[in-house]
Symmetry: C2
Subunit: 217 residues, 2 copies
């Protein structure tokens, strides 16, 4: 595991992000920016998806956290190459942090690079990281009003993964309401209902990710 | 309901916060800054606490949200005076926003002013709002690693309210682990286990809040 400290912004974010996108495209690597609240279940979702994609897609991960390496250790434990970025208080990753981190990965043996952003529904919305796909992770226990209250992050996304569907019987989460709100913000966005605990929807989501990963760019 | 748009920062935050604290103290109003992730259950907790404190403490609320008035409407529905601040994308409230909002409240009929911050475990940590008490709300469904991953917001707090304890049987949340992490960051911090659904711990938390509210400042 490499650990990269956040640096000062060196280049304008959009310019740096465009360069990363070109770099990843040239290397045949599909970039995914995974965003969501703290505790939405981003890391657990990755564990479930990578297990399903074993032998089909070679993943690598960049973990963004304010502090610590808890999530990166979990990725190492399942054999996924990982770089940890500690943002030292910053509430989101930016393209310069990603540019510094990519050097720590052997892109020639990677099909899909998932950037797990800092847990934050607000700040992460404003920063293109050079990805081809932005996925918002929202857990059923967070409530179905989140697209209404935090529109920007949903608006810029290509998919919403509703996690922890195993908790649906114990919450008042209305899947139809959040889906309608989401579709207003992202008319072409895909919606997946998944449970890493029960396995619901993981196979379908993994198939979709693999298809997107293999699509010519 | 008054709606206040976020303005440019006019005064240094700490100076403005100190002025708010003096203003609230002079008016006999106890200020609370309520922080937590999106969907941690902050508004639902307030509904439960205010129901329990009815006739004992006169509350008012300032609601901070990126967009919308969902939470402010909920406060109006239970008869609590409320001012909505829309931050227009900003990931936290600041003392200047609070200063603008307080004018919308009749402080002479308020004992406790709860500022429900934007759902965010990161940005909210850096901004004193002139409160006397900062409470971090963390739901059991968010996972027990949050104090480790987002230390700053816990460090500056006087209490942690662990919400949604009704979901404990369905999650792997370890109360002892999070409490130990929290106590390392905030040795004098109080910990309450509450469920707005089942009512667990609400009476004790309300009693504690009332005591803090009535303590001479």
């Amino acid at each position: 595991m490499k650990i990269v400290a956040a640096k000062k912004i060196l280049k304008a974010n959009d310019q740096q992000a465009a360069e990363i996108r070109s770099q990843l495209d040239a290397a045949g690597v599909f970039g995914v920016n995974l965003v969501g609240s703290p505790g939405a279940g981003k890391t657990t979702l990755l564990e479930a998806l990578f297990a399903k994609l074993k032998g089909r897609v070679k993943p690598a991960v960049i973990e963004g956290d304010i502090a610590g390496t808890i999530d990166a250790v979990r990725m190492e434990e399942i054999g996924v190459p990982v770089v940890q970025i500690n943002t030292d208080g910053a509430c989101h990753l930016d393209a310069n942090m990603i540019a510094s981190s990519i050097d720590g990965l052997d892109l020639s043996s990677v099909d899909m690079l998932v950037i797990e952003n800092v847990g934050n529904l607000v700040c992460t919305a404003g920063y293109d990281l050079g990805e081809r796909l932005r996925i918002v992770v929202l857990s059923t226990s967070e409530g179905d009003d989140k697209a209404h209250k935090y529109p920007a992050i949903f608006q810029g996304s290509q998919a919403m993964f509703i996690t922890k569907t195993d908790l649906l019987p114990y919450t008042k989460f209305d899947v139809e309401r959040i889906t309608a709100d989401y579709k207003r913000l992202a008319p072409n966005g895909e919606v997946f209902l998944v449970s890493a605990v029960g396995g619901e929807g993981i196979a379908e989501a993994a198939d979709w990710l693999e298809t997107r990963c293999n699509k010519p760019r």
